[in-house]
Symmetry: C2
């Protein structure tokens, strides 16, 4: 059973998951199947994964068989375990609880080698609606306080499998950096009676120098105090505290904005590894006023960031205004999506 | 002029340093001279660096010439600039100030390819006393609130040059994670009238399962809620708020403890890249009661940490107790330091 342990000084909870552990000599020795025939996330290899929780199957096909366009299943090596009670307890001056939570994988295409930049808008909407569906289901579980959705693309961004996928972790605590954002936004709201993100959006639109693109209900921009070069934020212009408030119409606009930003990053930075993180109102937070959901995209550029995670002190060698200009200037209109090979087979 | 910008939600200051910037296409394209003849930090290449601020020269030799055992100089590509006023100002709802500060490099050996694990205790004490000397000098400057000393060893840990060195950044703000530690320690002190680190030390010694080694006045241990596998903390057993309170006698013990921990990490993990960070009382903090200085060592093991820096949510696949046992069990007594080639030439 994994364990959640709390740092007694800064209050950060950490998952200690020895089940995922290995001998020290094994660090760095992992190998990753990169050929589609070996890949458990590929079409035809459904038996290699845990059974699916939900799937999108455009034609007639059976669960855990071919014929899907999207599959969600439990992570085979989960960081948290879904069964059991939290059982919080003291350990001397320390605090711990059982590592209870859900850890799921969302495989958003049956085809190996496709990323979001290469998908159709319907495919992007497909996985966004799968995020929504899983969040709605999991937030019924009163043990969970936050549902974290993130994506690691590329080995340097921590992806252990190359095949396009996102992950969901439902946790009995609110992750520290999300909690800091919510506290900061609340402090601002208590002082100003306005949402800090709404104020940011107004200023960014008026200023325009950090805007990457504008998709009607969404802007994509480079934050003023970006920690990383080309750090990109996509946010709804209208106040919405949770991703779950997104309407179907706006889901299309969000999908367009997300794909557009990822295409621009791919063109600007030669297909960089990246992480994205969906920052939304915690399940446990009832106020809709102060938080404003958004998606953070962090390209992982070689050799940027060294001691930063130890100090929380970041040196960004690229001005957000320069990054935004560069992203605006790429020729995204003529983006050529990767060629699709599987489409016919899936439909058959 | 680099700029300090503050995140309006979480209050984190970031250095935006376009002087260090490059075209986006250059990311990942940096090359590093690994041959000693090309290395600006090597003995004989003194003209390749900015002029030295201090140096240890065991024999008779001139500044910026051969014959040194340690040199400190300004970083050639500084993240912050030492001249000028802070000039804090608003930028709409954002906050910024000039990127004023000091950024120095401490080259602790003239010989390429030597790390701390291979040094004599006198050499380790040599660079520790250089840290102290620079801190004492820089804390006279009232613009600075924190003096951050850190080390990146290995490319994966962010070292841009292979030659052994540490860095110092004096900043007009307290880095966020240091500030969080200080606030957490203060909260604990206000509630309990005891230092949280003193309580941790008592519990760790009594429990012993996370202790790596005990060097009389210091323990090296794996923190209870370690974020990373083999994260190691070295801390004085007696309460000391600042590294500057270290006596000469204890400096020897600290040097032994540091070298011992780095030797154990090198043996346990096959010479891993690592960062270390000296966490000490800020210049601007007058209370000696609640903080307790320590040194954090974070080995950078491949493929650990992906989305973590985006969320502040860490998954540690190695139990600290397992890591501590492994570090205790390595054959550190028979550690063979790397062969020294330069020593004679330096003394000549």
């Amino acid at each position: 059973m994994p364990e959640l342990r709390k740092d007694p000084v800064v209050g950060r909870w950490v998952i200690v998951s020895a089940e995922r552990g290995r001998r020290p000599s094994a660090f760095g020795a992992l190998t990753v199947p990169s050929e589609a025939s070996m890949c458990p996330f590929c079409h035809g290899n459904e038996s290699e994964t845990p059974p699916e929780i939900i799937a999108h199957r455009p034609g007639e096909s059976e669960p855990n068989e071919k014929g899907w366009s999207l599959r969600v299943f439990s992570n085979k090596y989960p960081a948290l375990i879904v069964e059991g009670e939290l059982a919080p307890e003291a350990d001397g001056l320390y605090d711990r609880m059982h590592g209870v939570g859900a850890h799921e994988v969302i495989v958003d295409t049956p085809e190996h080698g496709i990323d979001i930049a290469d998908m159709t808008i319907d495919e992007v909407k497909g996985f966004l609606s799968a995020f929504r569906e899983r969040m709605i289901d999991l937030q019924r579980d009163i043990r969970f306080r936050y549902i974290l959705i993130f994506r690691n693309y590329g080995r340097a961004a921590g992806a252990s499998l190359e095949h396009s996928h996102s992950q969901l972790i439902a946790t009995p605590i609110v992750p520290k950096r999300i909690a800091e954002k919510i506290e900061g936004a609340k402090r601002y709201y208590d002082y100003k009676d306005r949402c800090v993100y709404c104020d940011i959006i107004r200023q960014e639109i008026a200023d325009s120098s950090r805007i990457v693109s504008d998709h009607d209900a969404f802007i994509s921009y480079q934050p003023y105090a970006s920690r990383f070069p080309f750090e990109t934020c996509i946010i709804p212009k209208a106040h919405q505290s949770s991703f779950l408030e997104l309407t179907d119409h706006d889901m299309t606009l969000f999908a367009e904005s997300l794909r557009d930003s990822l295409r621009r990053l791919k063109l600007a930075l030669n297909n960089p590894p990246y992480n994205f993180i969906l920052c939304t109102r915690p399940v446990s937070d009832e106020s809709h006023n102060h938080f404003h959901w958004h998606l953070e995209i962090i390209p992982r550029l070689t050799r940027v960031a060294g001691f930063e995670w130890g100090t929380g002190f970041y040196i960004n060698p690229t001005k957000p205004e320069d990054a935004a200009r560069f992203m605006r200037d790429v020729d995204v209109k003529n983006y050529q999506p990767a060629e699709r090979k599987l489409q016919r087979k899936v439909v058959e």
